[in-house]
């Protein structure tokens, strides 16, 4: 394993950074990573979202994963949970779609109808 001392240095930097932010997560994005999702390229979708969060410094947004949701033909699927709003499910979210959804929905709060699969619980 690479130098753990180096990791400790990174930790100090990251810790200071985290202290400056408010800790609460406002938006949760769940990526479906079952066999079907993986085969459809959901890991790319997930990594695109993680990179976008870092790039835009939207630390109130987190990305987590779940298994197969039962709509395999719609993969890659993501679920978007926003505080005080109904959850939204998007289907066929490739890297490009993920960018669009991030820009419009996560940053501006507008639902992207093009990829919309379902709304509410």
């Amino acid at each position: 394993m690479k130098n753990l001392e180096e990791l400790k240095k990174i930790r100090e930097r990251v810790r200071k950074d985290l202290e400056l932010r408010t800790g609460k997560h406002r938006i949760k994005i769940v990526v479906c990573l079952g066999t079907c999702g993986i085969a459809a390229g959901a890991r790319e979708t997930m990594n695109t979202l993680i990179d976008l969060i870092a790039k835009n410094d939207t630390s109130d947004t987190i990305v987590t994963t779940t298994g197969c949701a039962g709509f395999c033909e719609q993969e890659p699927m993501i679920q978007l949970y926003m505080e005080d709003k109904e959850p939204v499910v998007y289907g066929k979210v490739d890297a490009k779609a993920a960018e669009e959804i991030f820009e419009k929905h996560v940053l501006k709060g507008k639902i992207v109808e093009k990829y919309l699969f379902s709304k509410g619980k």
Partner: protein
């Protein structure tokens, strides 16, 4: 599944779904054969043939394709896939792929698979090792050691993720994981 990295992620997800809290992965490349062994402490498998697509523990659908797909990907290159319960519970899964075979899938990004797994299932401890040409085993990632240093929310940060990525990638390249075609 586009590449071996996708397959690998898929079977790691199987372990997590089976309730594993510890997953040990050893991989090596020897004589053009990519060998990977995954040992978990999950619930194990039933006696049924889990590489049959119509055998699955899932309730949303009656078919499970992950293992049959990997089995086929391995066997079509003359390799194999074996899965069996360990004495203590949990499963050992081994597969071997001839990476220069005409039917072999590209590796894809194996490092990315590991980082994605570590990120996706932070409660699971991963122990990743490689076996070098002289058969010595070298640990390249250990969740416990990392967690002693950083918390979960720190691990989510890009800088830390990049560090983990680089350290795993650096070691995997030593066994030639980036040189599937054209090297031999």
């Amino acid at each position: 599944m586009r590449d071996i990295a996708d397959h690998l992620f898929d079977i790691l997800e199987n372990s997590v779904k089976a309730g594993a809290t510890e997953i040990r992965i050893i991989s090596r490349i020897k004589d053009k054969q990519f060998f990977c062994k995954i040992k978990d402490n999950g619930s194990g498998i039933m006696d049924e043939d889990v590489t049959d697509p119509f055998v699955t523990s899932r309730k949303t659908r009656k078919v499970g394709l992950g293992l049959p797909l990997l089995k086929r990907a391995a066997e079509s290159t003359g390799g194999f896939l074996k899965i069996y319960n360990t004495e203590k519970g949990g499963v050992i899964l081994e597969f071997k792929i001839d990476i220069t075979h005409i039917d072999a899938k590209p590796f894809g990004n194996i490092t990315r698979t590991f980082v994605d797994a570590i990120y996706s299932w932070p409660k699971v401890s991963f122990y990743i090792s490689i076996q070098k040409k002289n058969n010595r085993t070298l640990s390249i990632f250990n969740s416990k050691k990392i967690r002693e240093i950083i918390s979960y929310s720190e691990m989510q940060q890009k800088e830390v993720r990049d560090f983990i990525y680089d350290s795993i990638d650096h070691e995997l390249k030593k066994i030639g994981i980036d040189s599937q075609f054209g090297m031999f």
